[in-house]
Amino acid sequence: MRPPRLARWLLEGFVAPRLADALIGDLDELFALESRTHPWRAKAAYWQRTLGALWHLSAWRMPPPAPHLTGDPAMFTFFRDIVLGVRLFVSHPSYAWASVITLALAIGANTVIFSMANVLVLKPLPIQQADRMGWILVSGPGAAPDRAGVSLPDYAVYRDGADTFARLSAWRRNMVTLRTGNTADRVLSMRVIGDVQGLWGLRAGLGRTLTIRDEAAGAPRVLVLSHQSWTTRFGAAPDILDRQLLIDGEPHAVVGVLTPDIELGNLSEIDLWLPEKADPTTAARTVRGWRPVGLLADGRTIADAHAQVSTIAGTLADTHPDTNRDWTVRVATTREAMGGTNTWLVLSMLSVVVGLLLLLACANVTNLLIARLIGRRQELAVRTALGATRGRIVRQIVAESLVLGIAGGLLGLAVAAAGLQGVHAMASEPFFRQIGFDVRVIGFAIALALVAPLIFTVLPTLRVLRRDVRPALNESTLRSVGGGSRGRSTLVVLQVALAVTLAVVSALVVQSVRALSQADLGYDPSRLLAAQIDVPTWKFADESAALRLRQRLLDRVREIPGVQSATLATEIPSLQFATPTGFDIVGRPVTEERDRPSAGLTITSPDYFRVTGIPVLAGRSFEAADQSSPRAVAVVSAETARRYWAGGAAEAVGAAIRLPAIDGRPALDATVIGVARDTANPDLDQVMNPMLFLLDEHRPARATHIVLSAEAPARLSAELRRAIRDVDPDLPASQLRTVSDSFADETSSSRLLGALFAAFAVVAILLATAGLYGVVSYSVSQRTPEIAVRMALGASAREIGRQVVGGSLKLAAFGTVLGLAGAFVLARAMAAILFGVSSTDPATYAAAAAVALSAAVVASWIPMRRAATVDPIQSLRQA
């Protein structure tokens, strides 16, 4: 009968090391004696004594041994172990550097993703009571989801009717012209109504914030500058207060400068804050763009607010169908409002990916450590025989690993810094500029650097030391023990699985990104240069004067050498959404509001189709003569013709349509003269938006773009700016860039995502290959005698080599199958962000499998050569 193993294991694990052996020996001796007569009582007694030992003699309950007993106090030896750990870089450089680099890559990747999560989730928002704020997000036809706004009258309705909000304000971003000296600039302003600054608890670094009194009709015109504009535009001038700035021609007094805390995400680009003086109840219903945000009433939740606001929206749609039909609202939390839903999905995915990378790295370092310990088994056996306790050896291993972990953490910070540089370079959205190092991010990296060693030392130390090291002094027992090769193989299979999963996911994301950037827009934007212009009402109150100005601008731009042609356009196709406008087809009266035809209205000049290169499929395009025609002419897109005319384009051409009177504009009768090809809608989904094109002369638009086409549009930027200024110095050019650049900006964050995923996949594949190499090479070295025997018996080098590669391939195959399964699950979870590629695309999966198997072959190359060059005589002599 043997003493109970569990009790023995407990004693070995927990009793103070210097007494453990003797005590266990004593217990065993007693057991041997007692079990001869009363075996079961002996067992019970053993347990009883074990519990007593655990109670009295647990390692942490015992005082540390006096110095003369162990030779060195524990603390002192720990520091010495740390120093030895540092010397590892000199004594065992390949092991040390391999571990450190592996850890650094994983820690760096995790830190980069954490810094994103930090901004999205952890960083306290500069808005007071942010978790009690509800944001009303609006979606509607032809607008980007959640990004449209409400009109001022709608805001008033919500403000007065929604009692789930204790108070409700609204804000709107708005470009205005700032005139300083001789230059006019378009700057981004934040118009606020209902005292947004008070609601959010914003503070002024200088002067004061806006109050509700500034919104009164007769109040003096004031503005508050953002911190960034005060420093960049006005050089942080201390005398800025009470200076008068010309905003859209009106003098405004600067009453304050905000603190920089609010410059988060989209709000970081705001230059100045203006109080809205218009009376909400009498404002135009067609002008949207106001985003209501409010403080939830006590005891009310977001869900309550959402229910009430949706009901109010429904009522508005019924009472004002032509402006509110098909617009839906929802109430969101601050976090959601500041980052879209896709952002959360993407962040979760990235977190999962880098978490897996860290596990992969730890697995690799674990393998390295096990290999090293196995190499040192003889040394460890000798040390134990000389009296070193297991605790002592474990402490040394832990100290070494901590050194590696910290080194990995420091290098990882450098990797993260480089990664963040890359992120900033690739992405233009303000959200990404905010991502950087702060206390939390650095703390995270340090925590990882300390935790990772704990993860990768647990397994090896338990395994290696659990085996009885004492009798292991002869070679053959050393070899036959094998050091847990099955565990290592399992680990490698998991590594390959992780790498394959990552490879598949990354490939899908990269393909999505490419599809996005190559999406067929329906026209070629590469020759176009555009600038936003807005004819100021304060200078050109008269519509016809404004029209003439725009015409002069067109003429002037056409004179620029290199320009093929130029046009005005309220929206650049596929880049911006056009305002959906209802119209009637003459002879087809409409009974229900929702049956009325609607199309995105773009106001253009006659050369629009020539400039953009969009072909007119039926009928004709605009001509110069149409500008002076008393009856308006219109061009519709193919989708419009398809939807509203049973006979399609043929029937549409020549049809008479009527735009109803709205907002002080009279009704407009027009004849459809042509049908143009569809262009992709800015969301790039399959649904085409119906479009309707009218000329500026018939439906004047002040806020529009000047677009020119040229061979090399980028070179004409300065010329365009000069041309605009020449026409009128108060007409500033904003957003002056090539249309290709605008598109690139739109996809920049997708491209960034693709790059991140691709980088992580490459790292994962490298780590898995390294892991495979480790295992295969170890197995070859362990089996050298066997190989020698076989070669002596006549096996050829090639046969041996094939066997080695075969072993490696088998491991990789298991891992690949697991990895493909995992990828399948993960890809379906992220199907929402994929574009142009299916989550089960077979080519991608096959390619990933091929990469994994090739990696297996590559990883086994060196071990295979080594196996093939085994000298049978030598190895047998050594064995």
């Binding site: 103070a16 210097r18 007494l19 052996d21 003797a22 005590l23 266990i24 020996g25 004593d26 217990l27 065993d28 001796e29 007693l30 041997a32 004594r49 007593g52 030992a53 109670w55 009295h56 003699l57 015992m62 005082p63 041994p65 006096a66 003369h68 007993l69 009296g387 004492r470 009798p471």
Partner: protein, 110 residues
């Protein structure tokens, strides 16, 4: 340096047990000795703890001995009372004797 603090009761018992066991004073015999003579149920772990503490105070010293098969290849830790330990023990027992001197009638014979 010998501890100036007096010995605890159990510490005395353990040291006396070591003295009784002579050359073979390791865990099991010391423990048996104490149990037999004091008729107390004593846990062997408590004996170990006390021996370790005494060693910390340099009142005893130990040596790891030969492993035997019954002990699964583990050596015995054999203890010995050191000269300072002997001095302290004598002093402690002497103090006890002086305290009990004259109280035989109340305390009764041993």
């Amino acid at each position: 340096m010998a501890e100036a603090q007096p010995l605890g009761e159990f510490e005395q018992l353990v040291m006396l047990g070591v003295l009784h066991c002579g050359a073979d004073a390791y865990g099991v015999p010391v423990w048996r000795e104490i149990q037999a003579r004091t008729s107390r149920a004593v846990s062997i772990a408590a004996v170990y703890k006390t021996l370790d503490r005494l060693e910390g105070k340099t009142l005893v010293r130990s040596q790891v001995g030969e492993p035997t098969a019954e002990r699964g290849g583990r050596g015995k830790r054999v203890y010995q009372v050191t000269p300072p330990g002997l001095r302290v023990l004598r002093a402690s027992l002497g103090a006890l004797a002086r305290m009990t001197d004259g109280l035989e009638s109340v305390l009764g014979a041993r």
